[in-house]
């Protein structure tokens, strides 16, 4: 059968109210052929994990500008693992200092996309790194 579209959850954890970037990315990934589930602003880690579980997504993309990434992102990756969602690819974007990147990667965030990343680059990374788990 034809290749199925990849499913991506785009979520904004925490309290910052700026989702233009997340929406632009969602729209861009749509144009790259992804099915993008957009859940809106002010998501708790628990809400994001529940949405990832129910929607059975291949990728969780987190957009965060508030500076709370060191608290929130590890909580989300831990929550996903606790639900058995180890095979979901987690990426983040927004304003994240370089110094924080190693700790976030250790916590299970596969890649951090800073300002200036193109949508094509994000799409390419997702296609190359998603854990294919098709049955037949």
């Amino acid at each position: 059968m034809a290749e199925r579209p990849l499913k991506v959850l785009i979520a904004k954890p925490g309290l910052d109210g700026h989702d233009r970037g997340a929406k632009v990315l969602a729209r861009g990934l749509r144009d790259e052929g992804f099915e993008v589930i957009y859940t809106g602003l002010r998501q708790t880690p628990e809400m994001i994990v529940a949405a990832a579980l129910q929607e059975d997504v291949d990728v969780v993309g987190l957009s965060i500008l508030s500076g709370a990434h060191m608290t929130l992102l590890p909580r989300i990756t831990a929550g996903l693992r606790a639900e058995g969602l180890d095979d979901v690819l987690v990426t983040a974007g927004g304003i994240i200092p370089d110094d924080d990147i190693p700790a976030l990667k250790a916590a299970g965030v596969a890649e951090i996309f800073g300002p200036g990343t193109t949508i094509g680059e994000v799409a390419e990374f997702l296609r190359a790194n998603v854990h294919r788990r098709d049955t037949a």
């Binding site: 059968m1 969602a26 749509r30 998501q43 579980l53 037949a136």
Partner: protein, 342 residues
């Protein structure tokens, strides 16, 4: 073929775990059904006998009428009574790239961490009519998983995407005020398939007038109905018209009560329990069965025509039709004959 066998085994396991209340397995099985895999087919077949007791409520209407907000508010009302709820929310796929933005969860965030509310977004994947091709199958899986109330929210519809009425037990058409005059209300199409018409955003000016106009136009014709009944002609539905403000919840408990009344009435009119004899299954179930059977038959036919032995014959036929050497009816008959001898 071994791939298919492995898929079938995986599907059977997913079905088993879904029955046991494993939401991860349920979510995965829905993906398999959506992707029309062997696992999806096996899982759905295993669960099908367990489904059939949920109330499938279709919610349709124009983009921005407030469908998602209304479904979320109905879910709040149902949860207050302790009822588990599943929601299938469909958004359109890009005809160009196949991608989609599935944004209905944005309006349903209050239920995000409630384990008795299962929300699943579906992309229409090229299917016209307001649904995805596998929406009925997904609803059957959720039904078997124990969700007794299932909302199916269509893509934002225009005037004639009426398919949801064929698969739902009860169809709710949502309108916002100022969306048209009395002539809109007497046009054929979407409003005709409504069991309930909801004028949402009732706090806006003109809402009550819109509801009054809809009532006047949709509920006329009792005499005509009797004549049609006597002559055996089809009779239009006479939907109730309700007002809601989904954003505040006003009117929503009344809408849920109206849905429950319709459900109870349908149950009283025919046999609902599997295996129960009596007046026969209600028309909405027969319509749903027909849609499923038609869909699977055409899917299987398409699959067979793509088999290695037949694909070249199909291509030949397409070329001949394009060149007007063969008419499309003759080509179709030839292909059916080729299928029959195989």
């Amino acid at each position: 073929m071994t791939d298919r066998r492995a898929g079938a085994a995986a599907g059977a396991e997913l079905a088993q775990r879904t029955r046991g209340g494993d939401q991860r397995a349920l979510a995965r099985l829905l993906t398999e059904v959506e992707n029309r895999t062997a696992a999806g087919e096996t899982g759905l077949r295993a669960l099908y006998p367990l489904a059939g007791s949920a109330h499938l409520v279709g919610v349709t209407g124009a983009p921005g009428a407030g469908k998602s907000t209304l479904v979320a508010a109905l879910t709040t009302a149902a949860r207050a009574a302790g009822r588990p709820v599943a929601i299938i929310a469909i958004d359109p796929s890009s005809p160009i790239t196949g991608g989609a933005i599935l944004g209905d969860r944005v309006r349903m965030q209050q239920h995000a961490v409630d384990r008795d509310v299962f929300i699943r977004s579906m992309a229409a994947r090229g299917h016209a009519g307001g649904l995805a091709p596998t929406t009925v199958g997904a609803a059957a899986v959720l039904d078997a998983a124990g969700f007794s109330l299932i909302f199916i929210e269509t893509v934002g519809t225009g005037q004639s995407e009426v398919e949801v009425a064929a698969i739902a037990d009860t169809t709710v058409v949502v309108q916002a005020p100022e969306m048209g005059d009395e002539v809109q209300a007497i046009k054929a199409g979407l409003l005709e398939v409504a069991d309930l018409v909801v004028v949402n955003k009732a706090d806006r000016p003109g809402a009550h007038r819109a509801a009054a106009q809809l009532r006047a136009m949709l509920t006329v014709g009792a005499q005509q109905d009797r004549a049609a009944l006597a002559a055996g002609r089809p009779r239009p539905k006479r939907p109730e018209v309700l007002l809601t403000t989904a954003a505040t919840g006003a009117g929503v408990p009344e809408l849920l009560a109206a849905l429950d009344r319709r459900r109870a009435a349908a149950g009283a009119g025919g046999a609902h329990e599997p295996g129960q004899s009596g007046a026969g299954p209600d028309p909405s179930r027969l319509a749903r069965a027909r849609v499923q059977l038609d869909g699977i038959l055409s899917e299987r036919l398409r699959d067979r025509l793509h088999e290695p032995g037949l694909a070249p014959i199909v291509e030949e036929a397409v070329t001949a039709i394009a060149a007007h050497r063969l008419d499309p009816y003759a080509a179709a008959d030839r292909l059916l004959a080729a299928l029959a001898v195989r």
